[in-house]
């Protein structure tokens, strides 16, 4: 297996893909958003409970490749407790990681997605769940789509 591919499918990613965290419909959710990737048919729904402007609880559901499943799963673990501004800033960092391969210092497990940047067609997979989460935070009822041509 090539170095690039090993870098793409890191152990963290394979682990989150096999045993996704916070998967399923959150019964107490007060916000929800759906995302889809029309190119491949992948779908992701993100459910949140917002309390005092912070994400008190979060889950995701849907279907997609290992990258999108693992990314959504890992995302839920990172977003719990954050407010909208923190979530947006975390997404900025994540977006930088998947598009450039450069991880800011002291960043968590998200750095596992650095390998995505050598597979540009997979960036949309990695960001699908994040788009849905940010839309859910905005209370935006429109389906998120990674077909915005901007990731």
């Amino acid at each position: 297996m090539s170095a690039d591919l090993t870098e793409l499918y890191q152990q963290v990613i394979l682990d989150h893909n096999k045993r996704p965290r916070n998967r399923g419909r959150l019964p107490t959710a007060n916000r929800v958003a759906h995302g889809d990737n029309p190119t491949c048919g992948d779908q992701c729904s993100v459910y949140l409970r917002l309390e005092n402007g912070k994400i008190a609880d979060i889950s995701f559901d849907g279907s997609g490749c290992a990258i999108s499943q693992a990314s959504s799963s890992l995302m839920t673990t990172q977003l719990k407790g954050k407010d909208a501004a923190e979530a947006a800033s975390l997404y900025q960092q994540f977006h930088q990681i998947v598009t450039t391969g450069e991880a800011p210092e002291a960043i968590s497990d998200l750095a596992a997605f650095a390998g995505v940047h050598t597979f540009p067609a997979r960036i949309k997979c990695a960001t699908l769940g994040w788009h849905a989460a940010l839309n859910a935070l905005k209370g935006d009822p429109i389906p998120a789509t990674t077909e915005s041509r901007l990731d």
């Binding site: 491949c40 992948d42 279907s63 290992a66 990258i67 997979r122 997979c125």
Partner: protein, 406 residues
Amino acid sequence: MPSWNTVRDDFPALHQQVNGHPLVYLDNGATTQRPQVVIDAVSRFYAHDNANVHRGLHALSMRATAAYEGARARVARFINAAAPEEIIFTRGTTESLNLVAASWGSRLQPGDVILLTEMEHHSNLVPWQLVAARTGAKLRYVPVTGDEGKLDLSVLDQLLTPEVKVFAFTHISNTLGTINPVAELCARARQVGAISVVDAAQSVGHMPVDVRAIGCDFLAFSGHKMAAGTGIGALYGRRELLDAMPPWQGGGGMIAHVGFFESRWKPSPERFEAGTPNFGDAVGLAAACDYLDALGRAQLRRHDGELARLAYQKLSALPNIRLLGPAEEERGGLVSFALSDVHAHDVVTFADEDGIALRGGHHCNQPLMHKLGLTGTVRASFYLYNTAEEIDVLIASIRRIQKFFG
């Protein structure tokens, strides 16, 4: 003169390494590769005979017109149309189907029914949704039986009622590999007075196709799926239908007379070819017809079919795999499958590491996927240059993928 023994030499794109492995190109359902003779035919045309067609009286323009109209006659012969005038050059299958839906379809009325099948490509589905929304006609679907991917013809009588004005269906499903009994379906359409529209994107370059034997009213296909370039394709239409249809696009070349406030149209095919046509790639399409006929389309059909059967059989032996499409002998040159533990995109990315080009996703068959409870499949689709050895490379790669994710 191409020969089956040296056929791979004719295709320059096949001779490259991808990720350190020889390219195994199994994405022919999306687009085929072009032989050097086709690439050269277009280059040579541009280097010698290039000028705008139809309206010119100078030497280059006359040569270009002869080349373009010669290509039309060649394509007509390729599918056994009654006359070159029955061939309208388009960008491809999608534009051909939009043309029929918009122009012929403009006569549809509330109460009329457009009958499609559940296995249609978005390109033979969305244009009809658009015309239905405009005219008030309704859509109806012939169901697909399930994973084995046959049309359920037992209910055709109930569906094909006198309200049906159009029956549009694919010749070969690009996802299932099913070959539909198109001649029978056209005959059934005729019985209720409906026109028949055949999406031949996956068949024209892969097997003998004879529009008069099929008995269809319209038939659509793309050059890039039959060894020619992109940007060229054709709509076959029966002459009397074409001449009774209103124009779709307006502009230079399709008019008999233009006044400031009213115009009159030329007959078919010019009526439907507004603006400068893609004569460069039409020349390439004619060269592709020559190339495929020299190999022989019956042999081509045998070759693709045998590879598909071999692939189906070897894939069936793998664990945790779900295969789509007919299990028996007769199938188009492709196989489509889903692994229970690995998503189609991960399969495609891993296979690419082994130099194998596959396609993963809904293959523009979203409603069918939804019906089958899938979000996508992996598809390996074959063409004249693929080999049995390449299927072994594919199987070995899938085994490694299953192991990695297992």
